[in-house]
C-alpha cells in the first residue's frame, strides 16, 4: 500500500513528468495524432476480436468496409445517412457554439417530421407536388423552430436550465409522434405507419437520395459562412465565450439566444423533412433514430466546424454500417459490433487529450 501511495505522490508532485497544456499545435501534428489513434484503436479491436471470437480481425475490417461501400446501393445509403446525421449536427452547432446545450435535436427532428407528415396526409392529392413540397418544407422548419424556441424562451425569461428542458421536450415530441403514428396507422391500431404517397421528394438523375445529399451540402456551406463570416455568427461566438463581454459590447444576449435556437430548430426541422419526405415516406417515433444524440458527438468531435463535421459524421455512419455488416456476416449479436464501434470512438475522443496536452517526462537526473 505504502508503495502505491508513494507512487501517486510522486506522480502528483511531478517526479515522473508533467502534463502540459499545449499552446498551439501544427495542423499536421494534430491530424497525425488522430490517425495514430485510429490505428491504435484498430489494434485494440483486433485483440478484443481474437480473444472473444475466432474471427480474423483483418477479415473483419474488410467486411466492415464492404458493409459500408460494398455495392453502389450501400454507398448511396452511406452518403444518405451521413447527410442526415450531418444535417442534425449542423443544426446543433450554432447552439453549442453559444454554449447553449441543445440536447433536444431528437424532438425537434420529430416535430419537423410530424409537420411534414401532416401536410402529406391532409394536403396530399389536393395540391400538386410542386406546391405541396415547399409547403411541407416551410411547415417543418417553422414547427421545429417554434419547438426549439420554447426552451430558449424559458432560458432567457427565467434562466431555466436548457439541457434538462430540451431533453425533456424530446419525450413530449416522441409521445406526440407515437400518438399520431397510431392514429394514422394502416390498418388502424396495428401501429404500422401509413405509407405517405403524396409529396415524396423527386429522384434526381435516377438517384432517390441525391436531393437529400445536395440539400445538406448547401446547408453545410451556408452554415460555415454564417458562423465564420457573418456578424450574427460572430455574436454567437462572443455569447459563447462570455455573456458578460457580450453584454458589455452591446450585444442583446437574449435576442441572440432566441435567434440561434430558432435556427437550430429550423435545421432539425429540415432533417425531419428530409427523413419523412425524402427517405422513409412514413413517420414513427423512431424515425429520428437517435440522430439528435449522435449529432452531439459529431459536432463536438469536429470542434463545431461544419466542414470537419462532414468527416466526423461520415466516420460515425461508416462505423455503424460496417458494424451491422459484421453481425450479419458472422451472425454475431449486435452488441459485439457496438463494442468495436465504442472502442474506436473512445480512442478518437481520447486523442483530443494528446492534441491539447503534452506529457513531459521528467529527465532522469543523478543525485535526486
Amino acid at each position: 500500500m505504502r508503495k502505491l501511495d508513494n507512487f501517486f505522490l510522486k506522480v502528483a508532485s511531478g517526479s515522473y513528468g508533467h502534463i502540459i497544456k499545449r499552446d498551439d499545435i501544427i495542423w499536421w501534428k494534430a491530424w497525425g495524432i488522430r490517425i495514430l489513434s485510429v490505428f491504435f484503436a484498430l489494434i485494440v479491436c483486433g485483440f478484443v476480436t481474437v480473444s472473444l471470437t475466432d474471427l480474423n480481425p483483418i477479415e473483419m475490417y474488410v467486411t466492415m468496409v464492404e458493409g459500408a461501400v460494398g455495392t453502389p446501393r450501400l454507398t448511396w445509403n452511406l452518403f444518405q445517412n451521413t447527410a442526415i446525421l450531418l444535417c442534425v449536427s449542423l443544426a446543433l452547432t450554432p447552439a453549442f457554439k453559444m454554449k447553449f446545450w441543445n440536447i433536444g435535436g431528437e424532438g425537434q427532428i420529430l416535430i419537423g417530421g410530424l409537420a411534414t407528415a401532416s401536410c402529406m396526409i391532409f394536403l396530399g392529392g389536393k395540391l400538386p407536388n410542386g406546391v405541396l413540397i415547399p409547403i411541407m418544407f416551410l411547415a417543418s422548419v417553422v414547427a421545429a423552430s417554434i419547438w426549439a424556441l420554447v426552451p430558449a424562451y424559458f432560458k432567457t425569461r427565467f434562466n431555466a436550465n436548457e439541457t434538462l428542458f430540451t431533453l425533456m421536450m424530446n419525450y413530449v415530441a416522441i409521445q406526440l409522434v407515437a400518438y399520431f403514428t397510431l392514429e394514422w396507422s394502416v390498418p388502424k391500431g396495428s401501429g404500422t405507419p401509413r405509407t405517405l404517397e403524396f409529396g415524396q421528394l423527386p429522384t434526381l438523375l435516377g438517384q432517390k437520395y441525391l436531393i437529400n445529399i445536395l440539400v445538406v451540402i448547401v446547408l453545410t456551406v451556408l452554415l460555415y459562412i454564417y458562423l465564420k463570416y457573418s456578424k450574427q455568427g460572430y455574436e454567437i461566438s462572443v455569447v459563447g465565450e462570455s455573456e458578460k463581454t457580450a453584454k458589455y459590447i452591446g450585444i442583446n444576449v437574449k435576442k441572440v439566444i432566441l435567434r440561434t435556437m430558432a435556427i437550430s430548430g429550423a435545421l432539425c426541422g429540415v432533417a425531419g423533412f428530409l427523413l419523412v419526405a425524402g427517405t422513409d415516406h412514413s413517420l414513427k417515433s423512431d424515425t429520428s433514430g437517435g440522430r439528435g444524440f449522435t449529432a452531439i458527438m459529431v459536432s463536438w468531435l469536429a470542434k463545431f466546424n461544419p466542414v470537419f463535421m462532414i468527416v466526423t459524421s461520415l466516420l460515425i455512419v461508416f462505423l455503424q454500417k460496417g458494424a451491422s455488416k459484421i453481425s450479419e456476416v458472422y451472425r454475431l449479436n449486435s452488441s459485439f459490433s457496438d463494442i468495436i464501434t465504442g472502442i474506436i470512438i473512445f480512442f478518437i475522443i481520447g486523442s483530443e487529450f494528446f492534441i491539447n496536452y503534452r506529457i513531459k517526462l521528467a529527465r532522469k537526473e543523478k543525485n535526486v
Binding site: 388502424k188 391500431g189 401501429g191 405507419p193
Partner: protein, 404 residues
Amino acid sequence: MKKTLSILLVAVMLVASLVCFTACSDKKGAEVSADFKVGFIFLHDENSTYDKNFLVAAEQATAEMGLKPEQVIFKTNIPEGNECYEAAADLADQGCDIVFANSFGHEPYMLKAAKEFPEVQFCHATGTTAHTEKVANFHNAFASIYEGRYLAGIAAGMKLNEMIEAGKITAEQAKMGYVGAFTYAEVMSGYTSFYLGAKSVCPTVTMEVQFTGSWYDEALEKEAATKLLSNNCVLISQHADSMGAPTACENAGVPNVSYNGSTLAACPNTFIVSSRIDWTPYFKYMIETDLKGEAIAADWCEGFEAGSVKLTEINDKVAAAGTKEAIEAAKAKLISGELHVFDVNTFTVKGEKLDSYKADVDTDADYTPDTEVIKDGYFHESEFRSAPYFDLQIDGITLLNSAF
C-alpha cells in the same frame, strides 16, 4: 433367342432407369444449387422471444434443406421503416432468391422491394395485403395460432378449476389477466381464443386485458402484468414479445400461460404451457416451392397438421392434473373439424348470439367490413386470408385500455 433376351434386358434396364430417375427426382425434387440464397430480415435479435422463434426455425429449415451457412443471410435488428426496404434490396443485391421478413410493420417496405425486384420472391409473415395487392412475387404467411391459443386456454381453465376446487378462489373469482400489444385483430383473435379455451372447461371465467401499445417493451409489459395482478387476476397470459409478463408472474408466484415458446427456464414455478408458431414448415415450403420453380402461395396458413402450430411441453409442477389429456382430446376434435374455436354458441357480443358478421379482410385504413365470415355456426378465422381478422369484443372480456 439371344436377340429377344437382349431386347428384354434393354427394356428392363430402361424401365429400371426410368423408375430410378423418377424416384430420384421425387426425393430430390428440389435440387439446391450452390448459388441459391435465402435472406432473412428480423425485427430484433435472439433476445426477443418472438424473433428467437423465427431465428431457430430459419436455422433448422435451411439446415434440413441442405443449405450451407453461406447460402443463408440473417439481418437482425431491422426496424419497421425504410431500413427494411434497404435491407431487402441489399439482400436482393447479394443474390438472394427468397427474402423473408418477420414483422408486421415490415410489410409496406417488403412490398416496395418486391415491385423493384420481380425476379426475387418476397415472403412476409403476419402481413395482410398479398391477396389484394396481387404482386406475383409478394407473399404473406401465418399459422392458425388461434387454435393453439385455444388449447393453451384449456390448460389455463383447468388450472383455475384446480384453484376453485382447492378453495383458493371462488368460481366467481376465476379472473384471468392478459397483456396485449395493440387493440388489433391479431391480438384480439389471440386473447379471445385463449379465453374461449379456458371457458370451455371453466364456465365462470372472466378476463381483463391491458394493452401496452408496443410489440416489445419489457418494462411496459411487466407493468401491465403487475396492474392485472393488483386487480386480483389469478392467472396471466400475454401476447407481447418480451419476458416482461412471465417475469412479473414468477416474481408474484402467479401461474402464467406463455407465448412464442417455453419460458420454463426463467419461470420454473409459474410457467404452465406456451403455444407457438413453428415457422420451420413454412420456411421449408417456401424454399422447396421456389426451387421447383413453382409459385409460392400468396396467402399461406397452416395449423397442427402441418406442424405450424405447436404447444410446448407442459410444466407438470404447475399445470393441473389431466391437462395433457384434455388438450390432446380437444386437439383431435379441432383437427377433425368436430370442434371450432369461434363457435357462435360459445360466446355472445353485448348479450346477443351472432349469426352474421362482416369482417375487414381486405385491409384498408378505415376497417371497411367486406367479407361475411360467420357460416355453418362458426366464425371462419384465417380462411379468407392468412392473418387473423377476428376483431369482436365478446362478453366476459373487459378491456382496461386500448392502444390503437
